[in-house]
C-alpha cells in the first residue's frame, strides 16, 4: 500500500506584470517558470511535472516544449475550467505527488490580454459559439459581464443586498492594492466612484469588473521529502476541493450559489479546519458579486449575508478577514484569468513576504478559484508550520 506523502507549494514567481507590450505569452510562461523554480531553490532538472493552459493548441505541450521540459515530464495536465484552472491543477498535481507518481510539478499561466486588446487582435467580448446548448443562450447576446450581473441582480432582489455593499468589495480591493507596488491601480476609490463609473451591465459598473492586464505566474509543488530542505519554508496544501456547475446559464440551479459550496466543503473537511480558523483569503474577484457568492458559499457568512459581512472594510488588510491582499483582479492583476495569482499571493502572505501589505501572523490561508461564469470552483486550504 502506498502511504500518501504530504505536498507543499515550495516556489512561487510572477513574470513581468501590468503593461507588457514586448513579450509573448510563451515568453512570459518561461520567465514565470524560471522565477518560481529559482524561488524554490530548484533547477530544471528537478522538474518532472507540468500543468499549464491558456495558450494555443496542445497546451501544455507547447509550454513544455518552450521551456525545454517536454522530454522528461511524467505528469502533464491542462484542465479547461476557466480562471479556477490552477486550483483544479493544484489538487490533481498534489494527488499525483501524494501517491508518488511524480515529485516536483510546476504550474504556469501567462496572458497578454491587455496588449492584445490594445493591438486590436482580440475583441473585448468573446463569442463562445452557438452549437448544442449554446444555440439557446448565445443568440440573445448576453455578455460575460451580464452573466455575473444577472447573479448580482438576483442576489439583490432575493436578499436585499445593496449596490453600495457590492461596491465595497471594489473599494476594499483598491485599498489593499495601495500597498502593493506591483498592482495595476493603486489610487484609493470611494463607493461613489464605483457607482458613478461607466455602467457596463446593470447593476455592474466598470469599477465592479476585473481589470485587463498582462502577465504570468508559476508555482512549484513538491513532496514533503523534497520540500523540507529547499530555499523557502514549505506552504503545505492541507485541503483541496473541486466542483463544476453550468455552461448554459439557464442550467445554473441557483444564481445566488457558487459551486464553491461543494469544493469548499471538501477542502475544509480534508484540512480539518473551519472558516473561522482562516487568517487570510484569496478569492477570485472577477466581479464584485463573485466575492459575495464565494464568501457565502465557503461559509464565511450565511447565505444572503455577504453584503452586510463586507461592510466597513472586513476584506481590507487590518479588517476581520483580509481578502485579495494584493488588490485582487479588481485592482491589481487580472491577465485574462486569475487563478494562478491567487495561489502566488497566498504563498507570499503565508511566508511573510508581503512587506507593507503583510497580514500579521498569517498561518492559514483559503484560496478559491472561480471559472467561467460561476461555472467551476476549486478551493485550497494552505498553511505553514
Amino acid at each position: 500500500m502506498v502511504v500518501p506523502r504530504r505536498v507543499a507549494v515550495v516556489g512561487a514567481g510572477l513574470s513581468d506584470l501590468g503593461r507588457v507590450d514586448d513579450k509573448t505569452e510563451l515568453q512570459l510562461h518561461q520567465q514565470a517558470i524560471r522565477r518560481a523554480v529559482a524561488d524554490a531553490g530548484l533547477t530544471r532538472d528537478d522538474i518532472d511535472g507540468l500543468c499549464s493552459t491558456g495558450t494555443g493548441v496542445l497546451s501544455p505541450i507547447e509550454v513544455a516544449e518552450y521551456v525545454g521540459l517536454s522530454q522528461r515530464l511524467r505528469h502533464v495536465e491542462s484542465s479547461t475550467v476557466g480562471g479556477s484552472t490552477w486550483e483544479f491543477m493544484s489538487r490533481h498535481a498534489a494527488s499525483a505527488i501524494a501517491l508518488g507518481l511524480v515529485d516536483v510539478v510546476v504550474l504556469s499561466y501567462a496572458s497578454t490580454t491587455r496588449a492584445d486588446l490594445k493591438r486590436g487582435v482580440r475583441t473585448s467580448n468573446l463569442s463562445f459559439g452557438a452549437r448544442d446548448n449554446q444555440q439557446f443562450d448565445a443568440p440573445f447576446g448576453h455578455t460575460l459581464v451580464s452573466k455575473y450581473a444577472m447573479a448580482a441582480q438576483r442576489h439583490m432582489a432575493q436578499y436585499g443586498t445593496t449596490i453600495e455593499q457590492l461596491a465595497e468589495v471594489a473599494v476594499s480591493a483598491r485599498a489593499n492594492a495601495a500597498d502593493n507596488p506591483e498592482a495595476y491601480y493603486r489610487d484609493p476609490i470611494t463607493i461613489d466612484d464605483v457607482l458613478s463609473s461607466r455602467p457596463i451591465a446593470d447593476p455592474l459598473t466598470k469599477l465592479q469588473c476585473c481589470i485587463r492586464s498582462d502577465g504570468g505566474g508559476a508555482v512549484v509543488l513538491a513532496a514533503e521529502d523534497r520540500a523540507r530542505d529547499l530555499a523557502k519554508a514549505p506552504v503545505w496544501i492541507l485541503g483541496t476541493g473541486e466542483a463544476v456547475s453550468h455552461v448554459t446559464m439557464s442550467e445554473w440551479p441557483d444564481f445566488t450559489e457558487s459551486p464553491c459550496v461543494r469544493s469548499g466543503r471538501d477542502a475544509f473537511a480534508q484540512a480539518g479546519v473551519t472558516p473561522a480558523d482562516i487568517d487570510v483569503c484569496q478569492l477570485y474577484d472577477s466581479f464584485t458579486i463573485t466575492v459575495l457568492l464565494t464568501l457565502e458559499g465557503l461559509g464565511f457568512c450565511p447565505p444572503g449575508e455577504a453584503g452586510r459581512f463586507v461592510e466597513g472594510g472586513t476584506l481590507r488588510i487590518g479588517g476581520g478577514l483580509p481578502t485579495n491582499t494584493d488588490g485582487g483582479g479588481l485592482s491589481a492583476c487580472h491577465p485574462g484569468m486569475r487563478g494562478m495569482f491567487l495561489i502566488v499571493e497566498a504563498v507570499r502572505q503565508l511566508r511573510g513576504e508581503s512587506a507593507a501589505r503583510q497580514v500579521a501572523d498569517a498561518r492559514l490561508a483559503c484560496v478559491n478559484g472561480t471559472g467561467g461564469w460561476m461555472s467551476s470552483a476549486s478551493t485550497m486550504i494552505l498553511g505553514v508550520d
Partner: protein, 149 residues
Amino acid sequence: MNRPPGPHTAFDAPSVDTVPWVPPIADQFTEPWWQACRERRLLVRACATCGRTHFPPRPACPHCWSDQVSWHQVTGLGSLYTYSVVRENDLAPFGASLPYVPAIVALDEGPRLMTSIVDSSSLTIAVDARVEVVFVDRGDWTFPAFRIA
C-alpha cells in the same frame, strides 16, 4: 416587486423590431423546437419515466437518463428569474442595439430559458415579474422573447 436600487439610468427594453439577436446553429434534433417557434409554439422536453421537464432539450432525460422523452408544449407564461441591462458589447450586432435586456425566465412548467425582454418599460422590469412569450421573426428564424405581462 423586488426592484434593486442602483446606478441604473432609465431605459426601455427594445421593441420586437429592434431587439438584437444572432442565429443559432441548430441541428437535426433541435430543428423541431425552432420549427415550433415559427408556429408560435414554445416547447420543452418532458420525461414519461420520471415526470420531469427539462430545457435545453436532450434526446434522453438528464434527470433519470430515460429515453422516454418527448416534446411538450408550454403556455409561454413564467416569471423573470433575473436579468441584466447590457450597456456595452463590442460584438456585432449587439453593439449597435444598446441597451438591451438579456434575461432568464422561469417557465411556469419548470424549466428556465435564456431570452431577451422586449417591449417593456424599465419601470416594470423587475426580478420575479410575470412575463409572457413574444415570438420574434427574423428571416428564416423565429425566437422567443418575453415581455412583462
